[in-house]
Amino acid sequence: MTWDWNAVSDFMPYFWDGLVVSLQALLFGSLISFGLGLVWALLMRTPSRWVRWPVGVVTEFVRDTPLLVQLFFLFYVLPEWGLTFSALTTGVFAIGLHYSTYTMQVYRAGIEAVPVGQWEAATALNLPVRRTWTAVILPQAIRRVVPALGNYVIAMLKDTPILMAITVLELLGQARLFSQQHFQFTEPITVIGVAFIVISYPASLLIRALERRLVR
């Protein structure tokens, strides 16, 4: 086995470029999944089954099919329908949509964990539905689910390399490009593999600490 430190130092400028793109995708993907997941979770609590049933089926479908195929679907089918986005935008949306079907379950568990007394108190105070949700239920529910959402942010980070398949030059895309140009595969791919561990392990420790603070 040969390890060439020069290849590593040659790769580093591309590494930082890729890292910026990966973190961008992660940031916007997380925001979409947090927002959309809350929307799904609230829709699943509407009284009408004509809303709950389609939302349930669609989210189950998205959750049980591969992100990669969904990504291809959005990337190749949307332009056929006349909607053209950049590869990164498509990728961010696909990750956000895919993970929103996971975060909706997190929110659902969080909402169900709010004690019944809180609902009854809101009724007793004659709060309108809107105020009940925004001032009583959601603040308590979201506090509990922050660590679980954080776990999904880490999972999303580990799924960002998939964007490489639709030509986004994030970490793995940069590594592959560099490998093909310089015929050095070992160093770039190992470097980004280590980078993922270096980012995600401290992040998971942080989330465990958050869990101890917020969930009691």
């Binding site: 086995m1 040969t2 479908f61 049980d64 099919t65 591969p66 992100l67 990669l68 195929v69 969904q70 291809f72 679907f73 190749y76 089918v77 056929e80 329908w81 993970y99 996971y102 379950q105 659902r108 568990a109 169900e112 679980a148 776990n151 999904y152 880490i154 999972a155 980070l157 580990k158 799924d159 960002t160 390399p161 998939i162 490489m164 398949a165 793995l172 590594a175 592959r176 490998s179 595969f185 070992t186 791919i189 190992t190 980004i192 593999g193 280590v194 993922f196 561990i197 995600s200 392990y201 998971s204 989330i207 465990r208």
Partner: protein
């Protein structure tokens, strides 16, 4: 779509199913070995097993696949057949997630059970085999079911390496027909049907195993709520 293209898709399904079965077997073996090692009395065994889990859980599955396909042959001279390379990468990665499930279920068994095993002067291995595992395995099934669906979704990644699985065949059909909506819809549906079938099979298995230790079937709905994806919840 012509019948020739359908044949391509069916070959793709077969490759995906093979890859799924092989990597599920490897992942199960890894989960149990590493998960049981994490309850070992020697700290070095626990540390190594924990290290393995953090490394393989910490990195991305696609990066692992790249590593096995590109770095292993160059660095160590092991050129693997694509099917085995895919199995190795997926099995090791998802095995690391599975080991957390095994560890969690083992530590959730009532400590009195373990103590009664000590009182009866069982060896550690007998305690594991006769007392802990029979009670812990049924509890693992719902989590393993979720992990199996994650693994199914993970098998799509090997198409990036040019392995002819279902996703790869979809890309070929797209190139042949110059239209994508139809084929990708079909492929998503096929994946969904496979995932649905697996979920049903695992539920049946859980019922059977729980009946074997005298427990009723748990409310599967509540366990589905706790469903967590890769990296989520199993920490």
């Amino acid at each position: 779509m012509t019948s020739g293209l359908w044949e391509l898709v069916i070959e793709g399904i077969w490759t995906t199913v093979q890859l799924l079965a092989l990597s599920a077997l490897l992942a199960t073996a890894v989960s149990f070995v590493v998960g049981i090692a994490r309850t070992h009395r020697l700290w070095i065994v626990r540390f190594l097993a924990g290290f393995y889990t953090e490394v393989f859980r910490g990195t991305s599955a696609l990066v692992m696949i790249f590593w096995v396909f590109f770095v292993l042959p160059v660095a160590f001279g092991w050129q693997l057949v694509p099917l085995w390379a895919g199995t190795l990468a997926l099995g090791l990665t998802y095995g690391a997630y599975g080991s957390e499930i095994v560890r969690g279920a083992l530590s959730a068994v009532d400590p009195a059970q373990q103590e009664s095993g000590v009182a009866l002067s069982f060896t550690p291995w007998q305690r594991m085999r006769l007392i802990l595992l029979p009670q812990a395995v049924p509890e693992m099934i719902p989590s393993f079911c979720n992990l199996l669906v994650e693994l199914l979704k993970g098998t799509a990644l090997v198409s990036v390496m040019g392995m002819g699985d279902l996703t790869f065949s979809a890309n070929l059909v797209r190139l042949a027909l110059q239209q994508s909506a139809e084929i990708y819809t079909y492929v998503l549906l096929i994946y969904f049907v496979i995932a649905f079938t697996l979920t049903r099979l695992m539920r049946g298995l859980e019922k059977k195993l729980k009946a074997g230790i005298g427990k009723g079937p748990a409310s599967t709905e509540s366990q589905r709520v706790r469903a967590v994806g890769v990296g989520g919840g199993v920490s």
